[in-house]
C-alpha cells in the first residue's frame, strides 16, 4: 500500500473514530513525494568515477501537519514503515500527539480551490527513468570529446521524475506528475555553467551554454589590465541569481518580516515604501511552463498564483505561507522554490550583447567567493571575485581579479543600475555602480 494511502487511512480514522478523544484530529494536511532519480557524473575528465558513478534513487516520503481537537498542532516527516506491524501508525500517531504544540495561527487548513493548469512534466524524462537512459551517457560522452585542451572537467547530469500527492482534511486530493532535469559542468574548478528546468535541455541550449563557457575559459587564459575606481561592475546572470538568493529571498519571507527579522518592516510593506528603483519589479510566477519554480499547488494546498513582491520599486507584499497569511491578514501568496520561480524585471532591459557594446570600462563578475557568509539583513557585501572578465571598449579582453564592496539593496535602488537579458538564463545581467578594487 502506498504511503499516501496509508496516511489518508490513518488520518481519516483519527478524525472520525479515534482510539481516544485525546487522539482526535480536527484537521490535517499531507504532502507525499514519490520520486525516482538517475544521475551520472564526471570527475577529472573521467565519466562514472568511483565518486560519481551512475546512480539510481527511489524515494517515497512525506510531510504531515496535524491539528488536534484540543487546538494544538504537530508536524512530522514520514516514510514507509520498516515492518508491516499493524500498530506502527497508531503508535506513531500517539508520538505525534506528544510532540504537539500551540500555534493558533498555523492551524488553519484552507478549503480546496480550483487548480490552475501548469506544465510541470516532461514525458521524455520519464522514459529516461524507466530505462532509456542513453541520453545521459551520450551527453557525458559529448562533453568529454569537446573539452578544451589541458582542462580538467567536472560535470553531472541528473533526471528526476515522480508523483506529488497533496491531501487535506478539507477535501483537497490532488496527485500529479512532475519532472526535473539538472545538468552542469565546470572547467578547472574556475568556470562553469548549468541548466535546471522541468524539461530536458534542448541541443541548441546545450550548444550555446558550452560555447559561452569555452569562450569565457579562453578569455581567462589572458591577463587583462587592472580595474580602476570608475570601472563598471556587471554581474553575470548566475551571479545576479546568487545575490538575489542571499539578499532578497530571505528579506521577503513573510515569517521574517512579521518577526522583525528582515531588512524591511511590516509597515514598509503596508505603506508600499519605495525600496528599489522605480524601474525594477520583483515577482513570483509559478505558471511558466516547465520552469523549475513552477507548480500547481503548494504543500499547504494553496493553488499556484502569480504574486508581485515589488512593483515599480515599491514594496507590495512578502511571500506568505498559510500561517503568515493569517497573521498578515491576507491571502496566502505564490511561493518561490529557492530562487526558482522568482523573477526580477527592469523596464528598460536590453539584450546583453547590446549592453556589452556600450561598456567602455567594465568587469564581468562570473562568481565570487564567500557570498553565503554575507549578512542578508543589512544587504552589505564585501567579496572577493578572482577570475572575473575585464571589459574594455565594448569587448571582453581577458581575466582580472577583483574585490567588491557595497550593498545589494542599495544597488537595486540606484538609478544607475541597469539590466540586460540573457538568452540562457531567467535572471538578467545586472550592471551596477559599486566599490571595486584589484585583488
Amino acid at each position: 500500500m502506498k504511503l499516501v494511502a496509508q496516511l489518508e487511512d490513518l488520518l481519516y480514522k483519527a478524525q472520525r473514530a479515534p482510539k481516544s478523544e485525546e487522539l482526535r484530529l480536527s484537521a490535517w494536511r499531507i504532502v507525499v513525494h514519490e520520486s525516482e532519480v538517475v544521475a551520472l557524473g564526471i570527475k577529472d575528465n573521467s565519466p562514472g568515477s568511483v565518486y560519481t558513478p551512475p546512480s539510481y534513487r527511489q524515494g517515497e516520503s512525506g510531510d504531515v501537519f496535524l491539528v488536534w481537537s484540543d487546538g494544538t498542532c504537530s508536524q512530522t516527516m514520514v516514510q514507509l514503515p520498516f515492518s508491516s506491524d499493524p500498530d506502527y501508525w497508531p503508535r506513531a500517531l500517539e508520538q505525534w500527539k506528544q510532540a504537539s504544540y500551540e500555534d493558533p495561527d498555523a492551524v488553519h487548513i484552507p478549503a480546496p480551490e480550483s487548480l490552475p493548469l501548469v506544465a510541470v512534466e516532461d514525458r521524455s524524462i520519464k522514459s529516461i527513468i524507466t530505462g532509456d537512459d542513453k541520453i545521459l551517457f551520450e551527453q557525458a560522452d559529448r562533453w568529454l570529446k569537446d573539452i578544451p585542451k589541458n582542462v580538467k572537467m567536472q560535470g553531472s547530469i541528473q533526471a528526476a521524475w515522480g508523483y506529488r500527492h497533496v491531501r487535506t482534511s478539507t477535501g483537497l486530493a490532488v496527485t500529479y506528475q512532475q519532472s526535473q532535469f539538472v545538468s552542469g559542468f565546470s572547467f578547472d574548478s574556475l568556470i562553469g555553467a548549468g541548466f535546471a528546468k522541468r524539461r530536458l535541455i534542448r541541443p541548441e541550449e546545450q550548444e550555446k551554454l558550452w560555447l559561452q563557457t569555452v569562450n569565457q575559459y579562453q578569455w581567462m587564459q589572458k591577463e587583462a589590465s587592472p580595474v580602476g575606481a570608475n570601472t563598471q561592475v556587471i554581474l553575470a546572470p548566475g551571479m545576479t541569481e546568487d545575490m538575489v538568493r542571499q539578499f532578497i529571498l530571505p528579506n521577503f519571507s513573510g515569517d521574517r518580516v512579521i518577526e522583525g527579522q528582515g531588512a524591511f518592516s511590516k509597515e514598509s510593506f503596508l505603506d508600499n515604501k519605495p525600496v528599489f528603483h522605480e524601474q525594477l519589479s520583483l515577482m513570483i510566477d509559478p505558471f511558466r511552463p516547465l520552469e523549475l519554480g513552477s507548480y500547481l499547488v503548494t504543500p499547504e494546498g494553496i493553488p499556484a498564483s502569480r504574486t508581485v513582491l515589488v512593483q515599480d520599486g515599491q514594496l507590495k507584499t512578502p511571500y506568505l505561507r498559510v500561517k503568515d497569511a493569517v497573521r498578515w491578514g491576507a491571502k496566502p501568496t505564490g511561493l518561490p522554490q529557492g530562487t526558482a520561480g522568482l523573477y526580477i524585471k527592469h523596464k528598460s532591459e536590453a539584450p546583453w550583447l547590446e549592453l556589452l557594446q556600450g561598456i567602455e570600462d567594465g568587469v564581468l563578475i562570473l562568481s565570487v567567493l564567500g557570498l553565503h557568509t554575507q549578512d542578508s539583513v543589512s544587504g552589505s557585501y564585501s567579496l572577493s571575485a578572482p577570475h572575473s572578465l575585464r571589459i574594455l571598449k565594448g569587448r571582453i579582453v581577458g581575466k582580472t581579479d577583483v574585490k567588491l564592496s557595497g550593498n545589494f539593496l542599495a544597488d537595486l535602488a540606484a538609478a544607475t543600475t541597469k539590466t540586460a537579458l540573457s538568452e540562457l538564463d531567467n535572471y538578467p545581467y545586472l550592471m551596477i555602480r559599486t566599490g571595486v578594487q584589484n585583488l
Binding site: 524515494g59 520498516f82 510532540a99 504544540y101 515569517d255 522583525g260 527579522q261 564567500g370
Partner: protein, 497 residues
C-alpha cells in the same frame, strides 16, 4: 530502528550479493530528529522526523562502480538495489569509466560501537524539551529585549551499519544536539544579525545551559557587539596584523587546508603536484601543526568511515611541514598518502567522499590567556596579554576578527575568503569597533603568516561541510585566538584605501 535490526538487514542484503560477480558495499542508516524553533516567545515549529534507507555501491571485477539507494529499509528493496547497482556498474564499465579496485585491498573489520550519549534519544520527553527551550528563550529575550530573538534546538541520532563483500560489518551510533540563538538588532537604521550555538551529544546540553547560562551570556555579548557594529565605520581595505578567534581558525583550517589535502582533490589542489600530496613541503613556521580526527562527544564524531574503515587521527602539518593527507580507500594510494578512513557521506543516499571530522590548528609556543566571562573583558585581556608579551605590532592597527560567518576556498588556486561578525582594533586602548569585512587571500600565505596562539585549545566550533553538494557535520578549532603577521597576500576588504 535499532542498531541490531539494521545490522541484521545489512547482513541479509549482503547475502543477496553472494553468487553475483563483483564487490558490494551496503550502507544502511536510520536517523531520528526532533527539532523546535521559537521566535519572539512563541513556538514557530516543533517537528519530529525519521529518515532511514539503504544504499548499495557495486563494483564489477574490473572496478567500475554503480550506486543505488532507497528510503525503504527492507530486505526485498535491498535485493532490488543490489541488482540495480551492479547493472549500473556494468553499464559504467562499458563507457570506459576509470576503474578502481582499491576496495578489494582493505582488510575486513567487524566492530560495533555503542551509543555514547548520556541521555537516550527519547529519555527526556519532547514536551519536557519544549519547556526547557522555552525557558531558555524567554530568559534571553527578557535579558536583552533590544534584540529580536529566534531560538532553535535540534537533536539527532544516526544509526549506521556498513557491510562489505569481504565480511566487514561495522555499526555505530552518532548522537548530536545543538541549541542556537539568532538575534537581530537595529541601530542607526541598520540591522545586523548574530548567531551563536552550543553543541553536544544530547539533551544534557539543555540541562547544562539552564544551570550555567553560558550560551545566553555569549548571545547577549554578541548582540551588544552587533549593535555597536551597526553604527561602526568600515575599515580601509589593506593588510594588517590580525588576531582571529577559534571559530575563524576552524574555518581557515577546514576550508583552506583540510580540503586541500583530501585525497580526491590532489589533481586540483594547491597542496598537490602531479596528483600527489606535496609531502615535506614547508607550509608554515616551525611550531604550527594541523590535526584532524574524531573526538568522542564532538559534533562531527564518526568512528568509522562510510566505507567501513576505522577513522584515524592524522597530523596534516607537523611543525610547519606538510606531512599527511586525508585519504579514503579509493584515492589515497593515487594521491600518495595512506588510507586513513576519511570517507564520509551525508546519508545512505550519498556516495562517500574524503572529508574532515574535527580539525584543529595549534601553535607552539602559546601565550596564556585566562578566558573571561564577557566578550569585551576578554578583548581587553587579549590586548593586555599582547602588550605584556611584546606581541602588539607597534604603529599600526592590530585587528581582532570576531565570529565566523563561513567561508569559501578554491583549492586549485588557493584563494580563500572568510567573513566575521565584526572587527576590533586592540592596538587602540579605546578598542574601536569596525564593520565586518572580507578576510581573503592565498591559503599558503595565510598559513605562513600564523605566528602564535593565545589561550588553550577550543575545538567546539561547529559547521556543515558542503563538499560535493552534501551536508556533513564538521567541527574544529584552535587556541582561543591565533596571531597572524601582516602578509601582502592576505587582506581585509572594506572601503578603498
Amino acid at each position: 530502528m535499532e542498531q541490531l535490526e539494521i545490522k541484521a538487514l545489512v547482513q541479509s542484503v549482503l547475502e543477496e550479493t553472494k553468487g553475483i560477480e563483483g564487490y558490494f558495499v551496503v550502507r544502511a542508516q536510520s536517523r531520528r530528529e526532533w527539532s523546535m524553533r521559537l521566535s519572539n516567545g512563541r513556538f514557530e515549529r516543533v517537528a519530529t522526523g525519521e529518515d532511514s534507507g539503504i544504499g548499495v555501491q557495486a563494483f564489477t571485477e574490473k572496478g567500475a562502480s554503480g550506486f543505488a539507494n532507497s528510503d525503504v529499509l527492507e530486505k526485498e528493496t535491498g535485493r532490488k538495489l543490489v541488482e540495480k547497482a551492479i547493472q549500473l556498474a556494468r553499464r559504467n564499465e562499458g563507457i570506459g569509466s576509470k576503474a578502481n579496485r582499491q576496495i578489494w585491498m582493505v582488510p575486513p573489520v567487524q566492530e560495533e560501537v555503542a551509543n555514547t550519549a548520556q541521555k537516550g534519544f527519547a529519555e527526556i520527553p519532547l514536551v519536557e524539551l519544549e519547556k526547557m527551550v522555552m525557558t531558555l528563550h524567554s530568559r534571553l529575550s527578557s535579558s536583552f529585549p533590544k534584540g529580536v530573538w529566534q531560538s532553535s534546538y535540534r537533536q539527532v541520532e544516526e544509526v549506521w551499519c556498513i557491510g562489505r563483500s569481504d565480511g566487514t560489518l561495522v555499526s555505530f551510533v552518532i548522537p548530536r544536539a545543538v541549541l542556537m540563538h539568532q538575534g537581530t538588532v537595529r541601530n542607526n537604521d541598520k540591522a545586523q544579525s548574530t548567531l551563536i550555538h552550543r553543541s553536544g551529544m544530547d539533551a544534557t546540553l539543555l540541562i547544562e545551559e539552564l544551570a550555567d547560562s553560558i550560551l545566553e551570556k555569549k548571545a547577549i555579548d554578541r548582540a551588544e557587539f552587533a549593535l555597536a557594529v551597526c553604527a561602526a565605520p568600515q575599515l580601509p581595505s589593506g593588510h594588517y596584523p590580525l588576531i582571529i578567534d577559534y571559530g575563524l581558525a576552524k574555518g581557515l583550517a577546514h576550508e583552506a587546508f583540510g580540503h586541500a589535502v583530501e585525497s580526491d582533490h590532489m589533481n586540483e589542489s594547491v597542496l598537490g603536484e602531479n596528483g600527489k600530496l606535496r609531502k615535506g613541503l614547508r607550509v608554515a613556521r616551525p611550531g604550527v601543526s594541523i590535526i584532524d580526527g574524531p573526538l568522542i562527544g564532538d559534533w562531527a564524531n564518526q568512528p568509522f568511515s562510510a566505507n567501513g574503515l576505522p577513522r584515524q587521527t592524522v597530523t596534516i602539518v607537523r611543525d610547519g611541514v606538510l606531512e599527511a593527507g586525508l585519504g579514503d580507500v579509493f584515492s589515497a594510494e593515487e594521491a600518495g598518502m595512506p588510507v586513513t578512513g576519511a570517507g564520509r557521506a551525508e546519508s545512505y543516499a550519498h556516495v562517500p567522499l574524503p572529508r574532515m571530522s574535527n580539525i584543529r590548528l595549534l601553535v607552539e609556543p602559546m601565550l596564556p590567556l585566562i578566558p573571561e566571562e564577557h566578550l569585551m573583558d576578554e578583548v581587553k585581556a587579549v590586548r593586555e596579554t599582547l602588550l605584556k608579551h611584546g606581541e602588539m605590532l607597534a604603529g599600526e592597527k592590530n585587528l581582532l576578527l570576531l565570529g565566523y560567518r563561513g567561508g569559501q576556498v578554491n583549492p586549485k588556486t588557493g584563494d580563500f575568503v572568510f567573513q566575521c561578525d565584526g572587527i576590533i582594533d586592540v592596538a587602540d586602548p579605546d578598542l574601536p569597533i569596525y564593520q565586518p569585512s572580507i578576510f581573503s587571500g592565498k591559503i599558503l600565505s595565510a598559513l605562513e603568516a600564523i605566528r602564535g596562539g593565545l589561550g588553550e585549545g577550543c575545538y567546539d566550533a561547529i559547521g556543515t561541510c558542503g563538499k560535493g553538494g552534501q551536508s556533513v557535520a564538521s567541527s574544529g578549532g584552535s587556541h582561543r585566538y591565533l596571531l597572524m603577521d601582516v602578509d601582502q597576500q592576505v587582506s581585509l576588504g572594506g572601503e578603498q584605501a
